[in-house]
């Protein structure tokens, strides 16, 4: 499939974290995975790993129910203009297996898991 070239004037991106992808150009396959535990803790005692362990939570063991593959698709693309023009793009954050792509990306298979927990001082 023909590809288009990307002309960018100004892209401002503030944050790119936790297996996120920012790409100007073309990508064939992207398979980002991300697992996170967000701990909100009372009190100022800090352990190394905040006592967070992925095996503790069932959320990380669950099977993702991926949709069944659809019918085969024969796609023919004709690019009548050779360029993608981007004048101004302003994004604050791209995070947790997210993708910010200018240009083509053929196949994406991504998964993100986030468990929020709160730890209080009083029992």
């Amino acid at each position: 499939m023909e590809k288009r070239t990307v002309h960018t004037e100004k892209i401002r991106l503030n944050g790119l974290t936790y297996s996120a992808i920012f790409n100007i150009g073309d990508t064939k396959l992207a398979r980002p995975r991300s697992k996170g535990i967000a701990v909100q803790k009372e009190g100022a005692s800090f352990q190394e790993d905040h006592g967070a362990d992925f095996n503790e939570y069932e959320l990380f063991q669950q099977k993702a129910n991926w949709p069944p593959p659809g019918p085969p698709v024969q796609k023919m693309t004709i690019q009548h203009r050779g360029t993608i023009q981007v004048n101004r793009l302003n994004i604050i954050g791209v995070t947790q297996s997210a993708i910010f792509q200018v240009g083509s990306i053929n196949q994406v298979d991504s998964e993100a898991r986030l468990k929020h927990t709160r730890k209080y001082l009083s029992g």
């Binding site: 004048n87 997210a98 709160r118």
Partner: protein, 61 residues
């Protein structure tokens, strides 16, 4: 009988003047361009005490 989807795409002008986005998060995609297939999944879980039981009183003012 497997039926194939025949698709013909004609791309003409693709020009982004000015776009502002807050955040793109949890296995999502912000794309300016072409794609064939997206398969995405995200799991999210909040602590039990985060669930609001009963009516939520609006902040004053």
């Amino acid at each position: 009988m497997i039926r194939t989807v025949n698709m013909e795409v004609h791309n003409w002008e693709l020009c982004v003047a000015n776009v502002e986005v807050g955040t793109v998060t949890a296995s999502s995609v912000f794309l300016v361009g072409d794609n064939d297939s997206f398969v995405m999944s995200s799991f999210y879980d909040t602590p039990p005490e985060a669930t609001a039981i009963g009516t939520i009183v609006p902040l004053s003012g």
